[in-house]
Amino acid sequence: MSHVGIVLISHSSKVVEGIKDIIRQVVHDVPVEVAGGTDDNDIGTSVEKVQGAIERAYSEKGVLLFFDLGSARMNAEVAIELSEYDNIKIADVPLLEGSYVGAVESGMGKSLEEVLESAKSVLNPNH
C-alpha cells in the first residue's frame, strides 16, 4: 500500500528534524522528508531542498507540504509550479500539529484530500 508523502519545510533544519523524530515515533510506513534551512544550512528556506524532498517523498497518492513562515510557503509554491506532478498540495496549518495528524492519517492509507482535511482539523480541536 502506498501512502501520501509528507514534506516538512522550515527555516531551521533542527525544527523539521525534530518534528520528523516526533512523527517517526508513531508512524513508520509514511514517507516523511524534510527541507530545513538554506542551501548553506543557514536560517531560511531553499526551493531546491523543497524540490528534492518532494521527489523523495513522492508516491502516486501524492505529497502534502507543511511550512512554517513567510518564504517557506512561497518556496513551497514555487517548487510545486516547477514540478511535473499535479497531486501535490500545501497544508496551511500549524507545522508540528498539522504534519503529525497528517502523517497519522496517511499511515491509514487515506487519500491526499482526506489527509489535508484531517490536518486542517487541528485548527478546530472540537471537531
Binding site: 542551501d39 548553506d40 531560511g44 518564504s71 512561497m74 514555487v78
Partner: protein, 206 residues
C-alpha cells in the same frame, strides 16, 4: 531607446554593486522590523546572479532575466528570493521573443512582475512591501511613452521613502503592528536600488 542585451547585463551588475555597497544598511533596516537578513540574502543572490550572467553569453534580454530569476530563487534564502525571482521570471516571459525591449514591452513586463509578486506574497500596495515601490513605478511607466531616467529614479526614491510612515500588513514586520511605523521597508529600499540602477543604465544609453 530600447533595452538591449548589454543594457540588461549592466542593469544587473549595477544593482549588484548597490546591494553589495549597502548590504549592512539593508540588514540594519531589516533588523529593526524583520529578521535582519535582507542585506546578506540579497547580496548573496545578486552576487550569484552576476556570476551567472557574466559567465554566459546572451542573445536576448529574456534569457538574462530568466537566469537572474532562477538564481535568485535558489540562492537568496529569505522571502525576497521567491518574490524577486518571480518578478524576474514574469518579466522574462513578457519580453520573450524580442531581441531588444521597447518601453511599452518593458512596462508590460513590470505589470506582469507585479502580478507575480501579488500572487506569490498575497500582499497589496500599502502593506509596506516591495510592491510600494514597484506599483508607483508601473504607474509612472504607464503614463509615459518612452524611458525617462530621472522620473524613474525620482519615483522609485520617493515611493521608497514613503514606506517609513506606513504600518506593515505583510511580511515579518507585520507581527510588530504599530511598532513597524517609522522604519523604511527593506524590500522597498532594495527595489529602489534596482530601479535607480536601471535609471543609470538608461542615462548612459542616451
Amino acid at each position: 531607446m530600447e533595452l538591449q542585451v548589454q543594457h540588461a547585463l549592466n542593469w544587473i551588475e549595477k544593482t549588484n554593486e548597490k546591494i553589495q555597497t549597502n548590504k549592512d544598511y539593508l540588514s540594519a533596516l531589516d533588523r529593526a522590523i524583520g529578521d535582519g537578513d535582507h542585506g546578506l540574502n540579497m547580496a548573496r543572490g545578486f552576487q550569484e546572479a552576476v556570476g551567472k550572467t557574466t559567465s554566459s553569453s546572451y542573445t536576448s534580454v529574456s534569457d538574462i532575466f530568466k537566469d537572474v530569476a532562477m538564481t535568485l530563487m535558489s540562492k537568496v534564502g529569505g522571502a525576497s528570493g521567491p518574490l524577486y525571482g518571480t518578478a524576474f521570471l514574469k518579466m522574462s516571459m513578457a519580453v520573450k521573443g524580442e531581441d531588444s525591449v521597447s518601453h511599452e514591452r518593458f512596462t508590460k513586463g513590470v505589470e506582469e512582475a507585479i502580478n507575480g509578486i501579488i500572487q506569490r506574497g498575497k500582499a497589496k500596495e500599502g502593506d509596506k512591501t516591495l510592491l510600494d515601490v514597484w506599483t508607483p513605478v508601473l504607474r509612472m511607466l504607464q503614463e509615459q511613452s518612452d524611458f525617462e531616467a530621472d522620473s524613474l529614479e525620482n519615483t522609485a526614491k520617493s515611493a521608497m521613502e514613503s514606506t517609513k510612515d506606513v504600518m506593515a500588513i505583510k511580511g515579518r514586520a507585520a507581527y510588530l503592528k504599530e511598532r513597524s511605523i517609522g522604519h523604511l521597508d527593506p524590500g522597498s529600499v532594495s527595489s529602489y536600488y534596482l530601479f535607480a540602477s536601471l535609471a543609470e543604465v538608461l542615462k548612459e544609453g542616451e
